[in-house]
Amino acid sequence: MRVMAQMAMVMNLDKCIGCHTCSVTCKQAWTNRTGTEYVWFNNVETRPGQGYPRTYEDQDKWEGGWTLNKRGRLQLKAGGRLKNLLTIFSSPKMPSLDEYYEPWTYDYENLTNAPLGEHTPVARPKSLISGQDMNVTWSANWDDDLGGAPELTMADPVLAKISDKVKLEFEQTFMFYLPRICEHCLNPSCAASCPSGAIYKRSEDGIVLVDQDACRGWRKCVTGCPYKKVYFNHKTGKAEKCTFCYPRIEVGLPTVCSETCVGRLRYIGLILYDADRVLEAASVTDERELLASQRRVFLDPNDPEVQREAERAGISRDWVQAAQRSPIWALINTYEVALPLHPEYRTLPMVWYIPPLSPVVDVVGETGEDSEDSGNLFAAIDTLRIPVEYLAELFTAGDPEPVTAVLKRLAAMRSYMRDINMGRAPNPSIPAAVGMEEGTMYEMYRLLALAKYDERYVIPPSHVEQAHGLEELATECSLDYDGGPGMGGSGPFGEGSGVNDPIAVENFHMLKQRQTTDTVADPASRKARVNLLNWDGKSAPAGMFPPRPGPDGANLREPDSVGDAGLVQPRPAGGSVPGPAGSGTDPIPPGGDWLGGDGPGTQGPGGPGEPGDTGASGTGPRL
């Protein structure tokens, strides 16, 4: 037995409202950079649907994950080591940008620059890849809420696996959201596909990371991951993936997606597992056995034998205790309501899901029957093949039994708790019908419905003797790092080359620069970065907009320079002559009186800044 600890997550799908808050906050934290515009470490898919990148679950096409070779041994689905190396010059199974989507922005400048004309100016979509005008035809969640159904939905590879009859009935039946992050697999095929060995699993907490200094851009991991959760940063030429917010986890904080989840449906905790049994568990012949075999890899943290072995493996006592209190362990093992996503990929994923009961409840409710009655719900689970078959393709390699069992437990809990909430005597036969004790069922209800922050996230911090070195705790001078304080900006070999600056250093330089320069940052210079962290909310942030040439080529004063007047609103320019279409900027009246008839700062009647007024006094708002 070789005990290892794994940081894992469970998501309760019944509670997901598909708000995408998790995706947005994750993006703000991690992928809000050039080169990762198309990257969503966390994305939320509507099921049924094609997913992101589209049809990623079709492993006949994308060849992600593992498979058993002729001799029954585990092998990468995309081929053995030699084949992997021979196809390195052009990776045959890598999704193109079309499969993700071409990221874009809008030509907002046109809204302020367009000359006076008959039609309202529009902001055209511009590709962030080619810089050209583009038609927006796909995105990370184009088929959100079954948009484009049934045509788009029918391309769902999971749907393709279930029978035709089911498909036809499908549309009236159900829909749910599936938030996804990297699974931080026990047997990660991304790491196995990496020719440089740059992707590694941390031995302390099992988080799978890409060493940015060791990645050489062979982009084989993108093919290797069946969940398509490794992304290629096209600017830096390196692979990037979900980090499980390791800087937060190390100090005991949940990931950003969990912290901000509106439905409070994410749970984080430790799982102890036996690393010696991972290979064997991933190699079982029958795909439907994979759920059971992965469960067998997990170790009971309450077992004294396991505790002894954990100690021998260097896992500290507070970590074992955290594993005992882990909501993940409870949901997977004690209540047995969590299931892994696509166990048939054989990577032993560690983000598990509680399948949604709501589709069943909805159907029962629509029939006018009592949708909180366990008898009705059980019957519906048994007869409603569609949700069960679909969920089984997602969570159990097509085996309906475990899904049915989970749904029945959830249904029983619903029914049992209703009696309690209505002040009636609880009915012990309900938990008994799904093989649970009354107390256990109540505890499960507490965990699923009421659990507070510290019960949902049981994250033992890394050890104090290490903590002072963690970047975000500034108990040491943050400028003391190898190579000394550097400047932000680009290295000599393109974006991001050169030594990485810690964020604290970048902020330091930005503040210093702001305090010591007498000119605003020049956005044309590659060193300038606009830092909203230091923006005081008054006027436009320095360096955000390039200086605009006046009629005689002289630079227009930056908005900052009229800052005395406290101007924040865009103002229409007065007295200027509309130029021909597309001629760019308009003439500015001399004397700096480009704010129209009013003096600076005064808001005359019908004055500038009011919507609808812009056409009358000039050529539109400008800043």
């Binding site: 890598m94 940008l97 699993k201 941390r202 050489r216 800087p247 100690e311 030594v499």
Partner: protein, 254 residues
């Protein structure tokens, strides 16, 4: 007595270039591990790349092996194992021509792709352009030498294994023969000189990826485990401040 110009051209410049090559790589590896990548552009375009890149790479690797044979192995050795001049010549030209044509075709396609595919062109740095210029010149001159010298027999017979090769090996054996290069046909002189300049540029381009060719992948375990304490946060350790190795606190009693 060799003229000074020849010494500069065929002794000084080669050593300077090779010094750039070696020290440049050391410097780049230390300073810019993060920029050490192929800068793959497959995400932007893969239809052309699917053909161009393998064609170029397999070609250039074969060409490289050919150079190891032709430049590295003295004529006396191949003759000692009984390989006649004719057989050697035939092998070199036939295999070399196939590899050369693959390389050139691949290179032309790659450059065509770089220029015409919008996103790929946008992602092309100035260094890329310089690199492609030198790469193309070196490769075309090399192919020209093979075709003109060995196939068309323009300008009489020249056996580079008695000339260029001896000079090249001499650079590493400190047995300098600038006069051999001075006598070589102009095509060989230009090929040799541009190749030296390419070597000097090498560490400062994306070509550094060649030195990361991941052959170790064949033998390493599939899944790599690493300890977090190798590195704390996003900060690299400071020299001289390595952590004291210490076992994590564990309970003595359970």
């Amino acid at each position: 007595m060799t003229p000074t110009a020849d010494i500069i051209l065929w002794v000084v410049i080669p050593y300077v270039c090779l010094a750039f090559f070696v020290l440049g790589h050391v410097w780049r590896y230390r300073y810019d591990k993060f920029g050490w990548t192929t800068r793959s552009s497959q995400l932007y375009e893969s239809r052309l790349l699917r053909w161009a890149s393998p064609m170029f790479h397999f070609g250039i690797l074969a060409v490289f092996l050919g150079h190891v044979m032709g430049l590295g192995i003295p004529k006396s050795w191949t003759e000692a194992v009984g390989m006649s001049e004719e057989i050697y010549h035939f092998l070199a030209v036939s295999i070399g021509a196939v590899a050369g044509v693959c390389t050139v075709l691949g290179l032309v396609l790659l450059i065509y792709r770089r220029r015409t595919v919008g996103p790929v062109f946008r992602a092309t740095t100035r260094m890329d352009k310089v690199m492609y210029l030198f790469l193309a010149v070196v490769i075309f001159l090399g192919l020209w030498n093979t075709i003109a010298g060995s196939v068309l027999n323009l300008g009489g017979h020249y056996d580079y294994r008695d000339g260029v090769s001896v000079w090249f090996r001499g650079i590493f054996l400190l047995d300098l023969h600038p006069e051999l290069m001075a006598e070589a046909p102009i095509g060989f002189q230009l090929h040799g000189m541009t190749a030296m300049l390419l070597f000097a540029l090498w560490p400062f381009t994306r070509l550094v990826h060649v030195f990361s060719a991941p052959v170790g992948y064949m033998w390493r375990p599939y899944v790599v485990y690493r300890s977090r304490s190798d590195r704390l946060g996003s900060r690299a350790g400071r020299r001289g401040w390595e952590r004291v190795e210490r076992r994590r606190e564990t309970s003595t009693r359970l």
